[in-house]
Amino acid sequence: MRHLLLLAGLVSAGLVLAGLLPACTGYRDEHDSEELRRDIDDRTLESRVRLALASDPETGEERIQVSCREGVVYLRGTVNREGAGNRAETVAKGVEGVRKVIATLRGSE
């Protein structure tokens, strides 16, 4: 009986290890990969928005800071031209992959 209990304990320990170790010593934790992908996708989206703003005649000369997190684009800075803030928001929303735009742009005057 004691041997059976010992065997059962060993098997249980083995099963626990089988469940836990792959998660911490596998090639790559799925979470890490997804986080890396999301971060790089956000940076790519930032560049696309930056390019779209630079290519637009109403926002091209403005110094607008662009950042992105999980598809949400944040626009910050001060704009010189009247209406450039609204235009920047519209341009950013038009970029493929942007889920939402949060603009905190101020006029220069």
Binding site: T25, Y27, R28, R37, D39, D41, R43, L53
Partner: protein, 402 residues
């Protein structure tokens, strides 16, 4: 006999874009990097004997241009020889110097050109200047022979970043610049031609609509160079219809004659600094209608008891990957052939060491060692030993992180 080349390196391949972006911006103007001293020299040169011997921009940026000639009308400028010396710390943050050499360079300038456009824009004149930029100024630049080198101080070695017989840059509206390059070679990547649009923005230089023809296919992408942080950039690159045999021949890959097919893929990347460990990326590779042979497939088919042939046919295959700390993590790989479907995952480093697992009909095969000399074995389906076996996998990861 194919010429032996060094392995393709992503970072070096991308330097073509960085180099061209900076050159186009400096030469065509419209960016704040240039100091007023350059426009003074140029303006004086038109009035007197049109020659410039040497222009110094700041303590560490040198431009040498010899025997510059301006022909009126049309103000066609011809520069038989020009050389830039740019401290690479501005881009890479390391201790080497980048040299840019131009030969037989000429530029076409409009008659009414005011060369002061090269300097910094005045904040008050932005609205007017926008229109001027569209029509006035240096509008075209052509280089008949352009060579860009990464000049390493240690070892006195020149690494070719771009060698081409044709380089053209034209100003577009809203400060962007269209660049077209003829056949050439960059970072050991031979290409048949490239076009791109360079857009300077505050603190950034964006290269968009990038298209390059290489390996029988097409490469396209976007690159965002962060000017205020040395070595920082990010972007995305896609490639289509790459000829696998041409790639193998170009880089003298073993068994090149036994590999053919088409390859496509995509990678997004971000470099937070100049070191390889600061380079991260994620992407996918797709292959179809490929024939291949390698020590890995030979041994894998051997342990599976399948006939090892001279070539294996791959109907289609996909592979996701991420790159971090100098390691490539292979994920979600599926290879489909005539008689098999293999699932693949693993880690590889840039020196060819690999640690992978293939799954075939419930059997797991471990592949370790290197791609050229792999050790292949069937892993036992043992719930207790398998996790311990996987502990050894961490050694590759640890090596990459050192």
């Amino acid at each position: 006999m194919t010429k032996k080349r060094r392995p393709l390196r992503w970072k070096l391949g991308l330097t073509i874009v960085l180099g061209l972006a900076v050159i186009a911006t400096w030469l065509i103007g419209g960016h704040r990097i240039l100091e007023p001293s350059l426009r003074a020299e140029l303006a004086e040169s038109i009035g007197i004997e049109p020659r410039i011997g040497f222009v110094l921009l700041g303590p560490d940026l040198n431009i040498y241009a010899y025997d510059v000639r301006f022909d009126a009308p049309g103000l066609r400028a011809r520069v038989p020889w020009m050389k830039f010396e740019i401290p690479v710390q501005k881009l890479w943050g390391s201790g080497s110097t980048r040299a840019v050499h131009f030969r037989d360079l000429h530029a076409v300038v409009r008659e009414e050109t005011d060369l002061s456009f090269i300097g910094s824009p005045k904040p008050d004149d932005r609205a007017d200047e926008r229109e001027q930029d569209a029509d006035g100024g240096l509008r075209e630049l052509v280089g008949e022979r352009v060579q860009i080198f990464l000049e390493q101080i240690e070892g006195d070695k020149l690494v070719p970043l771009l060698v081409t017989d044709r380089f053209e840059a034209r100003r577009l509206k809203r400060r962007s610049i269209a660049v077209e390059i003829g056949p050439g070679e960059s970072g050991w990547v031979p290409f048949r031609g490239a076009t791109m649009r360079v857009v300077p923005t505050p603190g950034h230089l964006i290269v968009s609509d990038f298209k390059l023809r290489a390996f029988g296919g097409l490469v396209g992408g976007l690159l965002d160079l962060h000017l205020e942080h040395a070595g920082r950039y990010n972007g995305e690159v896609e490639w289509h219809l790459f000829d696998i045999r041409e790639i193998c021949r170009t880089y003298a890959v073993p068994y090149a004659e036994k590999r053919r097919g088409k390859c496509a893929g995509r990678i997004r990347f971000h470099a937070s600094g100049p070191l390889l460990k600061q380079w991260r990326g994620s992407g996918e590779i797709r292959m179809h209608d490929a024939h291949f042979w390698s020590p890995i497939t030979f041994k894998v088919f051997g342990v599976l008891g399948m006939p090892a042939r001279q070539e294996s046919w791959l109907h289609s295959g996909e592979l996701g990957f991420t790159v971090e700390n100098g390691l490539v993590y292979l994920e979600r790989g599926t290879l489909r052939g005539g008689e098999y479907v293999l699932d693949l995952q693993g880690i590889a480093d840039l020196d060819g060491a690999c640690d992978m697992e293939l799954s075939y009909r419930g059997t797991t095969i471990a592949i370790r060692g290197t791609f050229d000399s792999p050790v292949v074995k069937i892993l036992p389906l043992d719930a207790i030993t398998l996790p311990f076996d996987r502990l050894f996998r961490t050694r590759l990861r640890e090596r990459g992180q050192r």
